[in-house]
Symmetry: C2
Protein backbone atom coordinates (compact mmCIF):
# COMPACT_ATOMS: atom_id res chain seq x y z
CA UNK A 1 0.00 0.00 0.00
CA UNK A 2 1.45 3.32 -1.10
CA UNK A 3 1.25 6.13 1.45
CA UNK A 4 -1.35 8.77 0.63
CA UNK A 5 0.37 12.12 0.15
CA UNK A 6 -1.64 14.28 -2.22
CA UNK A 7 -5.05 15.87 -1.59
CA UNK A 8 -7.82 13.24 -1.25
CA UNK A 9 -9.35 14.48 -4.53
CA UNK A 10 -6.08 13.66 -6.32
CA UNK A 11 -5.75 10.27 -4.58
CA UNK A 12 -9.29 9.40 -5.68
CA UNK A 13 -8.43 10.32 -9.27
CA UNK A 14 -5.27 8.17 -9.15
CA UNK A 15 -7.24 5.26 -7.69
CA UNK A 16 -9.88 5.40 -10.46
CA UNK A 17 -7.31 5.79 -13.24
CA UNK A 18 -5.52 2.72 -11.83
CA UNK A 19 -8.62 0.64 -12.56
CA UNK A 20 -8.24 1.20 -16.30
CA UNK A 21 -6.62 -1.70 -18.13
CA UNK A 22 -2.99 -0.95 -18.93
CA UNK A 23 -2.48 1.50 -16.08
CA UNK A 24 -0.82 0.26 -12.89
CA UNK A 25 -0.61 2.34 -9.73
CA UNK A 26 2.58 4.05 -10.89
CA UNK A 27 1.33 4.92 -14.36
CA UNK A 28 -2.03 6.02 -12.88
CA UNK A 29 -0.05 8.51 -10.78
CA UNK A 30 1.74 9.73 -13.91
CA UNK A 31 -1.55 10.02 -15.79
CA UNK A 32 -3.11 12.01 -12.93
CA UNK A 33 -0.11 14.36 -12.90
CA UNK A 34 -0.42 14.87 -16.66
CA UNK A 35 -4.11 15.69 -16.19
CA UNK A 36 -3.36 18.18 -13.41
CA UNK A 37 -0.60 19.82 -15.43
CA UNK A 38 -2.66 20.04 -18.61
CA UNK A 39 -5.88 21.37 -17.17
CA UNK A 40 -7.24 23.22 -20.21
CA UNK A 41 -6.30 20.84 -23.00
CA UNK A 42 -6.69 17.50 -21.22
CA UNK A 43 -8.37 17.50 -17.79
CA UNK A 44 -11.45 19.53 -18.71
CA UNK A 45 -11.97 17.97 -22.19
CA UNK A 46 -11.65 14.45 -20.74
CA UNK A 47 -14.13 15.28 -17.96
CA UNK A 48 -16.56 16.56 -20.60
CA UNK A 49 -16.05 13.55 -22.87
CA UNK A 50 -16.79 11.20 -19.96
CA UNK A 51 -19.89 13.19 -19.01
CA UNK A 52 -21.12 13.00 -22.61
CA UNK A 53 -20.38 9.27 -22.71
CA UNK A 54 -22.28 8.69 -19.46
CA UNK A 55 -25.26 10.71 -20.68
CA UNK A 56 -25.58 9.82 -24.33
CA UNK A 57 -24.25 6.30 -24.84
CA UNK A 58 -26.32 3.22 -24.20
CA UNK A 59 -26.30 -0.45 -25.09
CA UNK A 60 -28.24 -1.44 -28.20
CA UNK A 61 -31.15 -3.66 -27.05
CA UNK A 62 -30.85 -5.74 -30.22
CA UNK A 63 -27.14 -6.46 -30.57
CA UNK A 64 -25.33 -5.19 -27.46
CA UNK A 65 -23.24 -2.58 -29.32
CA UNK A 66 -22.82 0.79 -27.59
CA UNK A 67 -23.99 3.88 -29.46
CA UNK A 68 -25.74 7.22 -29.07
CA UNK A 69 -28.82 5.95 -30.86
CA UNK A 70 -30.95 2.97 -29.91
CA UNK A 71 -31.12 0.61 -31.77
CA UNK A 72 -27.51 1.30 -32.81
CA UNK A 73 -26.43 2.76 -36.16
CA UNK A 74 -25.50 -0.69 -37.49
CA UNK A 75 -28.84 -2.30 -36.54
CA UNK A 76 -30.69 0.66 -38.10
CA UNK A 77 -28.70 0.65 -41.35
CA UNK A 78 -31.03 -0.61 -44.12
CA UNK A 79 -28.08 -1.31 -46.45
CA UNK A 80 -26.80 -4.02 -44.13
CA UNK A 81 -27.95 -7.56 -44.71
CA UNK A 82 -30.28 -8.51 -41.81
CA UNK A 83 -29.98 -12.21 -42.62
CA UNK A 84 -26.29 -12.37 -41.56
CA UNK A 85 -25.45 -11.92 -37.87
CA UNK A 86 -21.80 -11.92 -36.79
CA UNK A 87 -21.37 -13.01 -33.17
CA UNK A 88 -18.42 -11.42 -31.29
CA UNK A 89 -17.23 -11.48 -27.69
CA UNK A 90 -16.66 -7.77 -27.14
CA UNK A 91 -17.39 -4.42 -28.79
CA UNK A 92 -13.64 -4.15 -29.48
CA UNK A 93 -13.98 -7.18 -31.77
CA UNK A 94 -16.89 -5.52 -33.57
CA UNK A 95 -14.69 -2.42 -34.08
CA UNK A 96 -11.87 -4.61 -35.41
CA UNK A 97 -14.19 -6.24 -37.97
CA UNK A 98 -15.64 -2.86 -38.95
CA UNK A 99 -12.12 -1.49 -39.47
CA UNK A 100 -11.46 -4.41 -41.80
CA UNK A 101 -14.66 -3.37 -43.62
CA UNK A 102 -15.56 -6.89 -44.73
CA UNK A 103 -18.87 -7.45 -42.94
CA UNK A 104 -22.06 -6.33 -44.62
CA UNK A 105 -24.28 -7.97 -42.02
CA UNK A 106 -25.21 -7.11 -38.45
CA UNK A 107 -23.63 -8.05 -35.14
CA UNK A 108 -24.38 -9.64 -31.81
CA UNK A 109 -22.06 -8.75 -28.92
CA UNK A 110 -21.98 -11.45 -26.23
CA UNK A 111 -20.16 -9.33 -23.65
CA UNK A 112 -17.44 -11.92 -23.02
CA UNK A 113 -17.04 -15.69 -23.11
CA UNK A 114 -18.17 -18.56 -20.92
CA UNK A 115 -15.62 -19.02 -18.12
CA UNK A 116 -16.83 -21.25 -15.26
CA UNK A 117 -13.68 -20.52 -13.20
CA UNK A 118 -14.56 -16.80 -13.20
CA UNK A 119 -18.21 -17.54 -12.47
CA UNK A 120 -19.30 -16.51 -15.97
CA UNK A 121 -21.98 -18.91 -17.15
CA UNK A 122 -24.08 -18.60 -20.34
CA UNK A 123 -26.72 -16.65 -18.36
CA UNK A 124 -24.23 -13.79 -17.77
CA UNK A 125 -23.78 -13.29 -21.53
CA UNK A 126 -26.17 -12.09 -24.25
CA UNK A 127 -26.78 -15.66 -25.41
CA UNK A 128 -30.53 -15.96 -24.69
CA UNK A 129 -31.16 -12.84 -26.79
CA UNK A 130 -29.00 -14.32 -29.56
CA UNK A 131 -31.00 -17.56 -29.59
CA UNK A 132 -34.26 -15.58 -29.64
CA UNK A 133 -32.93 -13.44 -32.48
CA UNK A 134 -31.88 -16.52 -34.47
CA UNK A 135 -35.27 -18.16 -33.97
CA UNK A 136 -37.26 -15.05 -34.94
CA UNK A 137 -37.00 -16.03 -38.61
CA UNK A 138 -35.13 -13.23 -40.33
CA UNK A 139 -31.58 -14.51 -39.67
CA UNK A 140 -30.24 -17.08 -42.14
CA UNK A 141 -26.56 -17.26 -41.18
CA UNK A 142 -24.81 -16.88 -37.84
CA UNK A 143 -21.05 -16.30 -38.19
CA UNK A 144 -19.34 -17.14 -34.89
CA UNK A 145 -16.38 -14.70 -34.84
CA UNK A 146 -15.23 -15.42 -31.29
CA UNK A 147 -11.59 -15.40 -30.23
CA UNK A 148 -9.56 -18.44 -31.30
CA UNK A 149 -8.91 -19.23 -27.62
CA UNK A 150 -10.12 -22.23 -25.60
CA UNK A 151 -12.82 -20.07 -23.97
CA UNK A 152 -13.92 -18.52 -27.26
CA UNK A 153 -14.13 -21.88 -28.97
CA UNK A 154 -16.06 -23.55 -26.14
CA UNK A 155 -18.48 -20.60 -26.12
CA UNK A 156 -18.91 -21.04 -29.89
CA UNK A 157 -19.58 -24.72 -29.29
CA UNK A 158 -22.20 -23.93 -26.64
CA UNK A 159 -23.99 -21.47 -28.95
CA UNK A 160 -23.98 -23.96 -31.82
CA UNK A 161 -25.56 -26.55 -29.49
CA UNK A 162 -28.28 -24.11 -28.46
CA UNK A 163 -29.24 -23.60 -32.09
CA UNK A 164 -29.31 -27.24 -33.09
CA UNK A 165 -32.51 -28.08 -34.93
CA UNK A 166 -33.09 -24.52 -36.19
CA UNK A 167 -32.71 -23.73 -39.88
CA UNK A 168 -30.01 -21.09 -39.27
CA UNK A 169 -26.67 -21.88 -40.92
CA UNK A 170 -23.77 -21.57 -38.47
CA UNK A 171 -20.27 -20.71 -39.67
CA UNK A 172 -16.97 -19.80 -38.06
CA UNK A 173 -13.86 -17.87 -39.13
CA UNK A 174 -11.23 -19.79 -41.11
CA UNK A 175 -8.07 -20.69 -39.22
CA UNK A 176 -4.64 -20.54 -40.83
CA UNK A 177 -1.53 -18.49 -41.39
CA UNK A 178 -2.12 -14.74 -40.71
CA UNK A 179 -1.58 -12.51 -43.75
CA UNK A 180 2.03 -11.31 -43.57
CA UNK A 181 2.87 -13.97 -41.00
CA UNK A 182 6.24 -15.73 -41.03
CA UNK A 183 6.03 -19.50 -40.55
CA UNK A 184 9.05 -19.52 -38.25
CA UNK A 185 7.18 -17.41 -35.68
CA UNK A 186 3.86 -19.29 -35.73
CA UNK A 187 2.83 -21.81 -33.10
CA UNK A 188 2.32 -25.49 -33.93
CA UNK A 189 -1.47 -25.24 -33.53
CA UNK A 190 -1.78 -22.55 -36.20
CA UNK A 191 0.53 -24.42 -38.57
CA UNK A 192 -1.43 -27.64 -38.07
CA UNK A 193 -4.72 -25.82 -38.75
CA UNK A 194 -3.27 -24.15 -41.87
CA UNK A 195 -2.07 -27.48 -43.24
CA UNK A 196 -5.30 -29.29 -42.40
CA UNK A 197 -7.37 -26.63 -44.21
CA UNK A 198 -4.91 -26.25 -47.12
CA UNK A 199 -6.33 -25.18 -50.47
CA UNK A 200 -5.50 -26.21 -54.02
CA UNK A 201 -3.98 -23.45 -56.12
Amino acid sequence: MVKKIAAPEIERLIQLLGRLPGLGSRSARKAALALLKRRQDLLIPLAQALNVAAEKLSECPTCGNIDTVSPCTICQDPRRDPTLVVVVEEIGDLWALERAGVINGRYHVLGGHISPLDGIGPDKLNIASLVARAQAGEVKELLLALNATVEGQSTSHYIAQQLQGTSVAISRLAQGVPVGGELDYLDEGTLAAAIKSRKRV
Copy 2:
Protein backbone atom coordinates in the same frame (compact mmCIF):
# COMPACT_ATOMS: atom_id res chain seq x y z
CA MET B 1 -4.36 6.71 -38.94
CA VAL B 2 -6.86 4.19 -37.64
CA LYS B 3 -10.27 4.21 -39.32
CA LYS B 4 -13.01 5.75 -37.19
CA ILE B 5 -15.68 3.15 -36.50
CA ALA B 6 -17.42 3.88 -33.22
CA ALA B 7 -19.76 6.77 -32.44
CA PRO B 8 -17.94 10.17 -32.52
CA GLU B 9 -18.44 10.48 -28.75
CA ILE B 10 -16.51 7.23 -28.25
CA GLU B 11 -13.79 8.23 -30.74
CA ARG B 12 -13.35 11.52 -28.88
CA LEU B 13 -12.98 9.63 -25.59
CA ILE B 14 -10.39 7.29 -27.12
CA GLN B 15 -8.49 10.24 -28.56
CA LEU B 16 -8.30 12.03 -25.18
CA LEU B 17 -7.36 8.88 -23.28
CA GLY B 18 -4.56 8.34 -25.81
CA ARG B 19 -3.00 11.64 -24.73
CA LEU B 20 -2.35 10.27 -21.23
CA PRO B 21 1.23 9.12 -20.68
CA GLY B 22 1.48 5.33 -20.82
CA LEU B 23 -1.57 4.86 -23.05
CA GLY B 24 -1.03 4.37 -26.78
CA SER B 25 -3.86 4.36 -29.31
CA ARG B 26 -4.50 0.65 -28.79
CA SER B 27 -4.55 0.78 -25.01
CA ALA B 28 -6.65 3.96 -25.13
CA ARG B 29 -9.21 1.93 -27.09
CA LYS B 30 -9.09 -0.80 -24.43
CA ALA B 31 -9.44 1.78 -21.65
CA ALA B 32 -12.45 3.37 -23.39
CA LEU B 33 -14.07 -0.06 -23.76
CA ALA B 34 -13.51 -0.78 -20.07
CA LEU B 35 -15.14 2.57 -19.21
CA LEU B 36 -18.14 1.84 -21.45
CA LYS B 37 -18.54 -1.65 -20.01
CA ARG B 38 -18.19 -0.52 -16.39
CA ARG B 39 -20.48 2.47 -16.49
CA GLN B 40 -21.59 2.53 -12.85
CA ASP B 41 -18.36 1.65 -11.07
CA LEU B 42 -15.84 3.33 -13.37
CA LEU B 43 -17.18 5.69 -16.05
CA ILE B 44 -19.42 7.81 -13.81
CA PRO B 45 -17.02 7.91 -10.81
CA LEU B 46 -14.10 8.90 -13.05
CA ALA B 47 -16.18 11.63 -14.71
CA GLN B 48 -17.06 12.95 -11.25
CA ALA B 49 -13.47 12.77 -9.98
CA LEU B 50 -12.29 14.76 -13.01
CA ASN B 51 -15.04 17.34 -12.51
CA VAL B 52 -14.02 17.71 -8.86
CA ALA B 53 -10.37 18.01 -9.84
CA ALA B 54 -11.17 20.69 -12.44
CA GLU B 55 -13.29 22.65 -9.95
CA LYS B 56 -11.42 22.36 -6.68
CA LEU B 57 -7.73 21.93 -7.45
CA SER B 58 -5.45 24.84 -8.15
CA GLU B 59 -1.75 25.61 -8.20
CA CYS B 60 -0.27 27.00 -4.98
CA PRO B 61 0.90 30.58 -5.72
CA THR B 62 3.85 30.12 -3.36
CA CYS B 63 5.34 26.75 -4.28
CA GLY B 64 3.58 25.42 -7.40
CA ASN B 65 2.11 22.35 -5.67
CA ILE B 66 -1.48 21.44 -6.59
CA ASP B 67 -4.04 21.29 -3.79
CA THR B 68 -7.63 22.12 -2.86
CA VAL B 69 -6.50 24.95 -0.60
CA SER B 70 -4.42 27.97 -1.58
CA PRO B 71 -1.69 28.34 -0.34
CA CYS B 72 -1.31 24.53 -0.27
CA THR B 73 -1.46 22.36 2.87
CA ILE B 74 2.33 22.12 3.01
CA CYS B 75 2.89 25.89 2.73
CA GLN B 76 0.23 26.48 5.41
CA ASP B 77 1.59 23.87 7.84
CA PRO B 78 3.16 25.79 10.79
CA ARG B 79 5.07 22.66 11.93
CA ARG B 80 7.16 22.72 8.76
CA ASP B 81 10.41 24.61 8.79
CA PRO B 82 9.98 27.70 6.56
CA THR B 83 13.75 28.22 6.35
CA LEU B 84 14.29 25.05 4.26
CA VAL B 85 12.93 24.98 0.70
CA VAL B 86 13.32 21.80 -1.35
CA VAL B 87 13.34 22.51 -5.11
CA VAL B 88 11.88 19.75 -7.32
CA GLU B 89 11.10 19.47 -11.03
CA GLU B 90 7.58 18.05 -10.83
CA ILE B 91 4.80 17.48 -8.30
CA GLY B 92 5.47 13.74 -8.67
CA ASP B 93 8.92 14.35 -7.17
CA LEU B 94 7.33 16.24 -4.26
CA TRP B 95 5.03 13.25 -3.70
CA ALA B 96 8.01 10.88 -3.80
CA LEU B 97 9.85 12.90 -1.13
CA GLU B 98 6.70 13.15 1.00
CA ARG B 99 6.26 9.36 0.77
CA ALA B 100 9.81 8.99 2.06
CA GLY B 101 8.76 11.30 4.91
CA VAL B 102 12.21 12.82 5.36
CA ILE B 103 11.57 16.48 4.55
CA ASN B 104 10.37 18.79 7.29
CA GLY B 105 10.71 21.88 5.14
CA ARG B 106 8.66 23.32 2.30
CA TYR B 107 8.86 22.87 -1.44
CA HIS B 108 9.20 24.72 -4.70
CA VAL B 109 7.96 22.98 -7.84
CA LEU B 110 9.69 24.23 -11.00
CA GLY B 111 7.30 22.55 -13.43
CA GLY B 112 10.07 20.82 -15.41
CA HIS B 113 13.69 21.42 -16.34
CA ILE B 114 15.51 23.75 -18.71
CA SER B 115 15.62 22.14 -22.14
CA PRO B 116 16.59 24.49 -24.98
CA LEU B 117 15.92 21.83 -27.62
CA ASP B 118 12.27 21.64 -26.50
CA GLY B 119 12.05 25.43 -26.28
CA ILE B 120 11.91 25.39 -22.48
CA GLY B 121 13.99 28.26 -21.17
CA PRO B 122 14.23 29.44 -17.53
CA ASP B 123 11.31 31.83 -18.14
CA LYS B 124 8.96 28.88 -18.74
CA LEU B 125 9.69 27.47 -15.27
CA ASN B 126 8.91 28.76 -11.76
CA ILE B 127 12.47 30.04 -11.34
CA ALA B 128 11.81 33.78 -10.98
CA SER B 129 9.38 33.07 -8.12
CA LEU B 130 12.02 30.83 -6.52
CA VAL B 131 14.65 33.56 -6.68
CA ALA B 132 12.19 36.09 -5.23
CA ARG B 133 11.30 33.61 -2.47
CA ALA B 134 14.98 33.00 -1.65
CA GLN B 135 15.69 36.74 -1.53
CA ALA B 136 12.68 37.54 0.70
CA GLY B 137 14.78 36.73 3.78
CA GLU B 138 13.01 33.82 5.50
CA VAL B 139 14.70 31.00 3.54
CA LYS B 140 18.11 29.88 4.85
CA GLU B 141 18.70 26.70 2.84
CA LEU B 142 17.69 25.70 -0.67
CA LEU B 143 17.98 21.95 -1.30
CA LEU B 144 18.11 21.31 -5.07
CA ALA B 145 16.41 17.91 -5.40
CA LEU B 146 16.23 17.82 -9.20
CA ASN B 147 16.60 14.66 -11.23
CA ALA B 148 20.16 13.33 -11.55
CA THR B 149 19.95 13.74 -15.33
CA VAL B 150 21.91 16.12 -17.56
CA GLU B 151 18.87 18.45 -17.79
CA GLY B 152 18.20 18.31 -14.04
CA GLN B 153 21.80 19.04 -13.20
CA SER B 154 22.14 21.92 -15.65
CA THR B 155 18.90 23.42 -14.27
CA SER B 156 20.38 23.08 -10.74
CA HIS B 157 23.50 24.85 -11.98
CA TYR B 158 21.44 27.68 -13.48
CA ILE B 159 19.50 28.18 -10.24
CA ALA B 160 22.68 28.18 -8.17
CA GLN B 161 24.07 30.87 -10.48
CA GLN B 162 20.96 33.02 -10.08
CA LEU B 163 21.38 32.96 -6.31
CA GLN B 164 25.07 33.78 -6.22
CA GLY B 165 25.77 36.59 -3.78
CA THR B 166 22.72 35.89 -1.60
CA SER B 167 23.15 34.48 1.89
CA VAL B 168 21.02 31.40 1.15
CA ALA B 169 22.91 28.09 1.54
CA ILE B 170 22.46 25.87 -1.50
CA SER B 171 22.71 22.08 -1.20
CA ARG B 172 22.02 19.10 -3.45
CA LEU B 173 21.15 15.44 -2.90
CA ALA B 174 24.02 13.03 -2.27
CA GLN B 175 24.91 10.73 -5.17
CA GLY B 176 25.93 7.13 -4.63
CA VAL B 177 24.78 3.53 -4.53
CA PRO B 178 20.97 3.26 -4.09
CA VAL B 179 19.89 1.45 -0.91
CA GLY B 180 19.43 -2.22 -1.83
CA GLY B 181 21.30 -1.69 -5.09
CA GLU B 182 23.58 -4.40 -6.48
CA LEU B 183 26.92 -3.09 -7.75
CA ASP B 184 26.85 -5.39 -10.75
CA TYR B 185 23.74 -3.63 -12.10
CA LEU B 186 24.86 -0.04 -11.53
CA ASP B 187 26.23 2.21 -14.25
CA GLU B 188 29.80 3.48 -14.20
CA GLY B 189 28.76 7.06 -13.41
CA THR B 190 26.96 6.03 -10.22
CA LEU B 191 29.87 3.83 -9.14
CA ALA B 192 32.35 6.64 -9.80
CA ALA B 193 30.22 9.10 -7.77
CA ALA B 194 29.87 6.60 -4.91
CA ILE B 195 33.62 6.05 -4.77
CA LYS B 196 34.45 9.74 -5.03
CA SER B 197 32.08 10.54 -2.14
CA ARG B 198 33.08 7.51 -0.06
CA LYS B 199 32.78 7.81 3.71
CA ARG B 200 34.96 6.49 6.52
CA VAL B 201 33.30 3.87 8.70
